[in-house]
Each structure stands twice: as C-alpha cells, then as structure tokens.
Amino acid sequence: MKFYTLSFLLVVTLIGNIAQAQDDLLSLVGEDKPKKERIKYAFKSPRVINAHSMEFLNPGTMDFRILHRFGQLDQGYKNFFGLDQASMRMSFDFGLLHNLMTGIGRSTFKKEVDAFIKYAPIRQSKGPWSSPVTVALVSGITMDGLPWADPTRQNYFTSRLGFYNQVIIGRKFSEGFTLQVTPTMVHKNLVQLATDANDIYAIGVGGRLKMSKRIAFTWDYTHVLAGLPETGYFNPLSFGLDIETGGHVFQLHISNATGMNERAFITETTGQWGKGQVRFGFNLSRTFQLKKPKLD
C-alpha cells in the first residue's frame, strides 16, 4: 500500500513538473529586479504654453518653434478679432541629455533675443530610490534690441539685459494629469522709472489634462508677488489646447499676455481678462532628430 502511495506521489510530481514547465517556461528564468524608471511625457512639449514645463526634449533632438500672438479679440471684425496684428517669436531648442536642454529665440516684440539653459537634478521616477516629483532649474537671459530710447544720454550695453531664474517642481500624477509650480525671479538691469523695482518675484502654476491620446487641455498662470507697479500690469493667464500630429505639436491658446519670454510675459502683461483683453495665439513645434542612435 505504501508502495502505491509512493509511486503515485512520484508520478504526480513528475506530471506536475512537466505540466508546470509547459505552462510557463518564462518563470524558470525569473523576473528581473524592479529598476528605477523615469516617468516620461508629463507634457507634450518643453513649454506648458508660455512657461517652461517640467518636460525635456529627448537627447539629440532639436525643437524648432514658431510662436504667434495676435491682437486683442475685443477689436472685433474691423481687425478680424486681432488676427490682423501678429507678434512672433522663433526659437531653436536643443535636447542635450535626458535632463539638460538649452535654447535660443528671438521675438519681434522689442526685437528681443533670449536664451536659456534648463537642468533637472531630480526627475520623477518609480521603482527603488525614486522621486515623486521632478525638480528642474531654469536660468535665462534676455537682450532688448531696440534703438536707445534716449540716445543723448550715456547708454550701456548691459542696460539691454534681463535675467530670470526659476525652479520647476512638477509631478505627473497620472497618465492624464500633470501639475507644476514654478517660483521665479526676474531681474531687469534697466527699469523705466527710478521707483520701479529691478527684481520681480513671481510664482507660476501650470498643468495639463489629457482629453485623448493626442489632445490635451493646458493652463499656465503666473502670479506676480512683488516688484511690479500697483497699476497697469496684470498676471498672465493662458488656457490652451495641445494637439499632437505626427511630427508637430500645435499649442493653440487664449491669453492676456503678448510676451513670449519670461521677462516679457511675467513683467509686461497689460491685458486684463475681466475686460476681455485677451488674444489668440499659437505655438508650433517641429522636432528634428539631429543625432540618431544606431539600431544595428
């Protein structure tokens, strides 16, 4: 009896082994340990609308951007709701590393050239030793290109310059929702009045809500905390739609801001949402792969 039990057990074990082996061979070689993995694609583009986003360009790519800001919608049919006037900025951004990018652009407004460098010491990730947020630092410079307002006085080149520094703290909460805050400091070497401050402090909030795989709703608001005159200036607020086609991202939006660099849109927004002084604008982004990885 004992013998039968034993042999029965043996046979069962054998059959069991074979059956298991046939069912899942892959489990025999074991799963790899979980690795730290970066959370990618928090935004479709390295810009929310006006502001820098927590996302970076892929290394080895160049983003050619054409930005347009039209006139105020309240101008009515006579100026075709602002479309008769356009201000533009053209820029080239480069992805250097997964957490490092740089770019240069020029705006028609004030014939201003701007450049920046953006670096993320911490990127949102999952797995062991992961971070729940991305922390990115942006440092930029702007250079006004207009003729001197008063050529009779002594003018210095440095008077044309402005600077901005910001920290982006952002998190992609889910596939569809991303939120970031950006404490920012803008410094202008030359201001209009002796009583105006040179340093402007602000905090920005930007986000994305994906509506489908290729369309997302975005918003971008900057609240100026200190440094701007009491009257005449307003906080820039923009709402947009990101539309992704094959190689392009279209960012359509309405905003009270005209400026297309940090100095301009944070410190020189004169439109007021409450009075309908908003305008239509778009960013067109086309990415080129400059450095191709070898596939073979």
Binding site: K2, F3, L6, S7, L10, V11, L14, N17, I18, A21, Q22, D24, L25, L26, L28, V29, E37, K40, Y41, N58, P59, G60, T61, G95, E175, K213, R214, E244, T245, G246, G247, T287, Q289, K292, P293, L295, D296
Partner: protein, 186 residues
C-alpha cells in the same frame, strides 16, 4: 522489491528530466518594422533584451519583451510608440507562448539547421491572438539559434492608426525574432 521499483522510478524521472533539456536567453533580439510602402521615413525599432525559453523535449517555446526596450532612430517616434500606440505604461510586456509544430523533426543533439513552424498565442497591447510563424532552429555546439518572422495585423491588437499617419504606418507590422539560446541549468 520496493527499493528496486523506487530506484526504477527515480531513474525514469532522472532520464525524463535530463531529456527535457531547456534552453534560454535574456539578450534575444526583436526587429519591429511598420513602414508603409509610401512612407518617406522608416518606422522601425530594435529590442535587444528579449527573454526566450525553450523546452527541447516538448517543443514549447516562449518569449517576452518589454515594450519600453524598443529603440527607434527618432526619439519622437519612440515616444509615440510608447505613449499613443502600444501604451507601454498600461501594457508593459508583449509575450508569445507556443509550440514548435514539427519538433520531432529537430535533432537537438546534432549540429544543423532545421526549418520549423511555431504556433501559439501572441499577446501585444493586452490583446491575445493566435499566431503562427515559420522560422528555423540552428543547432551548433550545444547552443540553438532560433529565428522566426511574425506578420502582425495591428488592428488585431487594438493598435489604432490615425488618419494623419495612415500613409506612413503599415497596418501589417513585421516582427522578426532572433535568439541565441544556451542550455538552462538547474
């Protein structure tokens, strides 16, 4: 008597196990190609981290691959592949579990090249479908090089191709698998 039978059983067991030689790799390669004939750019990617396990006795063959491990020439294409088409956050892996239909015609102890047909279930993008591929097994010095080509209709796996890229992305993707398998110990 008992001991004799027991020894016999154990022996049979050992023989069966040793005959059931398994082979594996974790560095297999998959080439993915979905370039439409009219497309101006190549839509292709490579993954060199394919896990493949094969049981020579039964002819069972299985492989698994992480979607995020595919490298494209253009990073933006890779982004779209992961985010919009294969949704790699939701469906991180693709898998094939199948059987070599003509396993008996392969002599694993003799060097040579053997044409084979594999049939099984292919899982991509969370969808499992019957799949069949023809390929070959090359036995050489105790190692096996397995190669096979799958033709995959993307709509079978609920991978939608939007109109704007319909002239670039081929509805039929080609998946070429190449694995050099070594004996699995233990």
């Amino acid at each position: 008597m008992k001991k004799v039978v027991l020894a016999f059983l154990l022996f049979t067991g050992t023989v069966l196990t040793s005959h059931a030689q398994k082979f594996f790799t974790k560095t297999g390669r998959i080439d993915f190609n979905a370039t439409a004939p009219s497309s101006p750019e190549k839509i292709e990617a490579v993954n060199r981290t394919v896990t493949c396990v094969m049981d020579a006795a039964s002819g069972n063959i299985q492989f698994a691959v992480f979607i995020k491990g595919f490298t494209f020439e253009r990073a933006l294409m890779q982004e779209h592949f992961n985010e919009n088409y294969l949704e790699s956050d939701k469906f991180p892996k693709a898998e094939f579990k199948g059987l070599i239909a003509n396993n008996s015609s392969v002599n694993y102890t003799k060097d040579g090249t053997y044409p084979v047909t594999v049939k099984g279930k292919l899982t991509i993008h969370g969808e499992t479908k019957d799949a069949e591929a023809s390929g070959k097994l090359q036995v050489q010095g105790g190692k096996i090089t397995a190669t096979a080509g799958f033709a995959v209709l993307l709509s079978d796996y609920k991978v939608a191709i939007p109109g704007v890229v319909a002239d670039k992305v081929n509805k039929n993707a080609k998946i070429d698998v190449a694995c050099t398998l070594e004996p699995l110990k233990g």
